[in-house]
């Protein structure tokens, strides 16, 4: 099923993806995964269970808060919501990430000046 998933996630990147995902709306864990899958067209290979330590860690850091609520199907689920601190953290990570990719790009696209 995950046959098309061909990119292994870099360490620490998952947090940023989760924060970005939750920046659109409060979601439960499974919904976060589904969002990432559809947004990346199933190209990311994520060990799904790793999502939960990440969520709980960010909850402890105060970047997320969680509430129990009901899904559209009426099932009880834990919904995560981005806090103001979480938003700041997301912005910082995105900046860091773009600077990183830009730098790597620079190198990859550079040609010998001679």
């Amino acid at each position: 099923v995950a046959a098309s998933a061909d990119i292994e996630l870099l360490r620490g990147t998952l947090d940023m993806l989760v924060l970005k995902t939750l920046s659109w709306a409060p979601m439960h864990g499974l919904a976060v995964l589904r969002w990432i899958e559809s947004a990346t067209q199933d190209r990311l290979q994520i060990e799904e269970g790793a999502l939960y330590p990440s969520l709980h860690r960010m909850e402890q850091k105060g970047w997320l808060t969680a509430d129990w609520g009901y899904t559209d199907q009426g099932r009880k689920a834990k919904f995560y919501r981005l806090t103001a601190a979480g938003r700041r953290q997301l912005a910082a990570e995105v900046t860091k990430w773009s600077r990183y990719t830009e730098t790597v790009d620079l190198l990859l696209t550079a040609e010998p000046s001679t």
Binding site: A2, G29, E48, G49, P53, H56, Q60, W68, K78
Partner: protein, 904 residues
């Protein structure tokens, strides 16, 4: 899914606050939701249920590992959250409490000062108790150090002899409970000028067996300690200096080790210096000289050595004493010369082992400090009772506020928290104040303390004292915060209905507050009685006639070089006579004499003497003192018969004076004893020429001492052990400042003998005062405690009576409107306060009767249950209560009926 549980359970669970168990349940639910959701999704895409479940788990990875990782974060979240909550709540309460307290500065200030003073006094005394009694002595293995003594109950009652030197070696070799043992004797020596600018001076010395250092665990700061070989010479050849003496006398000269100094006219090699804190337990030592002692030494019946031993680990003093009993019993067999069997039988000689700390601190001091600590604790309790009363008033005043809050949904726990945080804040502030007061108080106490109190230098505000102050403060805070809550079960809305003046409630409160005052009065009575008993003992002691007349008498040590005088009786006598004659010429001097011992200063261990003509079966064992002519006149001791004279002594008349107590021990049929012979063992007989009146030389509260006053010069053929080259000069003056004579006396002595040293000039009045110092000290502190207690009780009583008056304004107004007289109203108020006081006095009398026996060992000439004193204390308190009710009574009688009733 098989692990599925009914959802309703979780609904219930999740409304409850977080806990470790609930977090686990919630996480499992979250993970299950994920796996189930995935499974359904996969089934919808066409997999069988089993395939879908397997695929969901595969994608999820290691469920257990992820679960554990998530849980670790949850635990941290939980802990932090709880801590934040607590801190928040605490800060909130504190802010509220500070605001509330700031609004009533009078209440806050009074509370802090009352509690601070009480706590400060208790902390100061606790610090002394801790430093003197509770803390171990400052030695390595202090708990294993013991003192060995030899009681001789059949000979001298409670007097303890020391050990003889051979016993040290014998016990060390044969006892399994003793690890190491050392013996020592205190003495004074003259340290010569060494050719420098400092004059010869007397120094405190100890003649010690080298083993004493290892017993005490002392290591040298410079050089070495004494070695066994140092003890083999009759005259000490080496010396170890105490640290303070080294710095004071020799300027801390590091090069001194290896050089010689002049001790008693002989050159002695300094081999070492001790560190600052290396001291014998009970006094300072300047010079440590090797005692003449070695294992093969001939045994002597010379039980005059102080002995300290270190026991093996786990051995108690009692066990050691039991072990030494059979060893001591073998002494007559092994050392028949030193301890002959008839000697042991006649004296009841045995060996006693006591913990060194008990010996140093002493039973009386331990008891006195515990009693003082008890007294300040009582004062503290009384202060706390006053505060409790104030808190009750506040709670009453806030009843409406509390009721409104309760009606609006505030819970009782919250109300309790508020009260508690107020009391904790007050207690903490009081503890800080107490530290300052304790520090000041300790300084004051130390200036008052008898200088012979053991371990004085170890007293300072310590961690234990600080812990005591804060611990005590918190306990009291709990009490203050909880009593009003316990006393008010009906913190409810009904208060709002009856105009904020619940009758039943105020009556209950009144009862609690009256009970507090009753206990205050009772405790005050106990303290007053205790203080009164001490004052009475002090007066009785002051009234005791010591047998000598201390007023205007000056004494000091005079020492002359033993090498030049020690063998020459005539020369020694001539020197003393010249000194006496010349001092006699000084203005205001009425008498001069010398004595080996000074009453109340020097110990009176006894010596065996032979007496002619006595029919008494018991030979007795008097204390002996070598005295010069003029001593009795100078000290003011009356003598019947013939006293000593310089001319008689020069003619070797052999005249000797004995004390009346000694004469009474002997029965000389038909005579007073004058004219009979008396002698030391082996010496020719002296002749008893006079009987001196008894002197309370061992203490004003002790029986008179049997003394034989031998003359300074022997009769031909007599062998006094030593020519007295070290005597106490006694000078009787017309009064005024006798100390002014000291420089002139110093000049006279120096002119006659430049190598002589004088030291320790003091007034006999001070000697007498010092002998009573422990009692005086206890009396003074108990007096202060009692005064504080009475003051606090009066304040407490005043508070209660005023409050009652204010509560009964309406009733009083009605009475007055109905024609009651001012006097009747006043009487009513006074009756109320007197009633409370009488109950308190009755309770206090019971407590006092039960507890004053604890004081017995400190008392003198008064019974612990002296009815006069008890009655006096009760009357004093009654008078105080009348004073306390005077103002409220006046206020009550000035109630204007019209005003008061309109206010209803």
């Amino acid at each position: 899914m098989t692990r599925h549980e009914p959802e309703s359970l979780f609904r219930r669970v999740f409304r409850l606050p977080a806990s470790r168990a609930r977090i686990r349940v919630a996480l499992d639910e979250e993970l299950r939701f994920h796996l189930e959701g995935r499974t359904e999704e996969l089934e919808a895409s066409g997999l069988t249920h089993a395939e879908a479940v397997a695929e969901a788990y595969r994608r999820f990875g290691d469920v257990d590992a992820h679960r554990r990782a998530a849980l670790a974060f949850d635990d941290r979240t939980l802990t932090r959250g709880r801590r934040m909550e607590l801190v928040d709540a605490f800060l909130r309460e504190c802010r509220l409490a500070v605001r509330t307290l700031a609004r009533s500065p009078g209440f806050t200030g009074t509370s802090i000062i009352t509690l601070g003073v009480g706590l400060g006094a208790a902390t100061a005394i606790f610090t002394m108790l801790d430093a003197v009694v509770l803390r171990p002595l400052p030695y390595a293995n202090a708990d294993r150090l013991v003192q060995l003594t030899s009681p001789v109950p059949k000979l001298e009652g409670d007097t303890l002899w020391g050990l003889a030197r051979h016993e040290m070696y014998y016990f060390k070799q044969h006892s399994t409970s003793i690890e190491d043992i050392g013996v020592y004797q205190r003495t004074e020596v003259t340290v010569g000028s060494n050719g420098g600018d400092r004059p010869a001076e007397r120094a405190r010395a100890v003649m010690t067996s080298p083993s004493l250092f290892s017993v005490l665990g002392v290591v040298p700061e410079l050089g070495r300690l004494l070695l066994p070989d140092d003890s083999r010479s009759r005259r000490p050849a080496v010396v170890v200096l105490g640290h303070d003496y080294w710095t004071q006398r020799f300027g801390g000269d590091g090069q001194l080790v290896g050089k010689t100094i002049d001790v008693e006219g002989a050159s002695v090699l300094v081999v070492g210096v001790l560190p600052p804190n290396a001291q014998l337990p009970d006094s300072k030592t300047d010079l440590w000289l090797p005692a003449y002692t070695y294992p093969e030494q001939q045994a002597f019946n010379n039980h005059t050595w102080s002995a300290i031993a270190r026991l093996r680990p786990g051995i108690t003093a009692v066990q050691a004493q039991r072990e030494l009993a059979p060893l001591t019993a073998r002494l007559p067999e092994l050392y028949s010369h030193a301890e002959p069997p008839q000697f042991v039988a006649a004296t009841g000689f045995h060996t006693q082992v006591r913990s060194l700390r008990d010996v140093v601190v002493g039973e009386v001091m331990t008891r006195a400090l515990w009693i003082l600590f008890g007294a300040v604790l009582l004062v503290l309790i009384i202060a706390a009772a006053n505060l409790s009363s104030l808190f009750l008033i506040r709670v009453d005043a806030r009843r409406r506020e509390t009721a409104v809050r309760t009606a609006l949904g505030a819970d009782r726990v919250h109300a309790a928290m508020q009260l508690l945080s107020e009391s904790v804040l007050i207690a903490l502030a009081a503890a800080l104040l107490a530290m300052i007061l304790a520090q000041l108080g300790l300084r004051l106490l130390l200036s008052l303390t008898p200088s012979n109190l053991p371990r004085l230098t170890e007293i300072h505000l310590s961690a234990a004292g600080i812990a005591f102050a804060f611990g005590g403060a918190l306990l009291i805070a709990l009490f203050l915060g909880l009593v009003p809550i316990a006393g008010s079960p009906e913190l409810d809305v009904n208060v709002l209905r009856d105009g904020g003046r619940g009758v039943t409630l105020s009556r209950r409160r009144q009862l609690v507050r009256s009970a507090l005052v009753v206990s205050q009065v009772a405790l005050s009575l106990v303290l007053i009685t205790a203080a009164g008993l001490m004052v009475r003992s002090f007066q009785n002691l002051r009234a005791v006639r010591p047998g000598f007349d201390p007023s205007g008498v000056l004494t000091m040590h005079v020492a002359i070089p033993a090498e030049r005088y020690g063998k020459d009786y005539a020369r020694t006598s001539a020197f003393y006579e010249q000194v006496a004659t010349q001092i006699r010429q000084l203005p205001g001097v009425r008498g001069v004499g010398f004595s080996e011992k000074i009453p109340l200063e020097d110990s009176n261990l006894c010596t065996g003497v032979s007496v002619q003509g006595s029919t008494a079966r018991n030979l007795g064992c008097p204390s002996t003192s070598i005295v010069s002519p003029g001593y009795f006149e100078a000290m003011g001791i009356a003598v019947d018969g013939q006293s000593l004279s310089w001319s008689g002594m020069d003619q070797h008349d052999g005249n000797t004076v004995v004390s009346r107590a000694f004469a009474q021990q002997h029965e000389w049929p038909g005579t007073s004893g004058i004219g009979n012979g008396i002698k030391f063992e082996g010496a020719p007989f002296f002749r008893i020429s006079g009987i001196a009146h008894d002197v309370l030389a061992d203490g004003l509260d002790k029986p008179p001492v049997a003394i034989v006053y031998f003359p300074m010069l022997p009769i031909p053929g007599a062998q006094l052990e030593q020519v007295p080259t070290y005597m106490n000069l006694v000078v009787r003056t017309n009064g005024g400042d006798a100390m002014r004579l000291v420089p002139s006396i110093g000049r006279i002595v120096a002119e006659l003998e430049p190598a002589a040293a004088i030291a320790n000039a003091k007034l006999m009045n001070d000697v007498v005062a010092r002998s009573m110092a422990r009692r005086t000290f206890t009396m003074l502190l108990l007096g202060i405690a009692a005064a504080m207690a009475v003051l606090l009780s009066v304040v407490g009583l005043y508070g209660v009576v005023s409050y009652v008056v204010s509560q009964r304004r309406g009733e009083i107004a009605i009475r007055m409107a109905l024609g009651a007289h001012v006097a009747q109203v006043r009487r009513m108020v006074v009756r109320q306060s007197t009633g409370i006081t009488l109950v308190g006095i009755a309770a206090g009398l019971l407590v006092a009767l039960g507890s004053m026996r604890l004081l017995q060992s400190l008392l003198f000439g008064v019974r612990a249950t002296d009815p006069e004193l008890l009655a006096g204390s009760a009357l004093l308190l009654l008078a105080a209560s009348l004073a306390a009710s005077y103002l409220p009574a006046r206020r009550a009688s000035m109630v204007d009926p019209g005003d008061a009733l309109r206010a209803e």
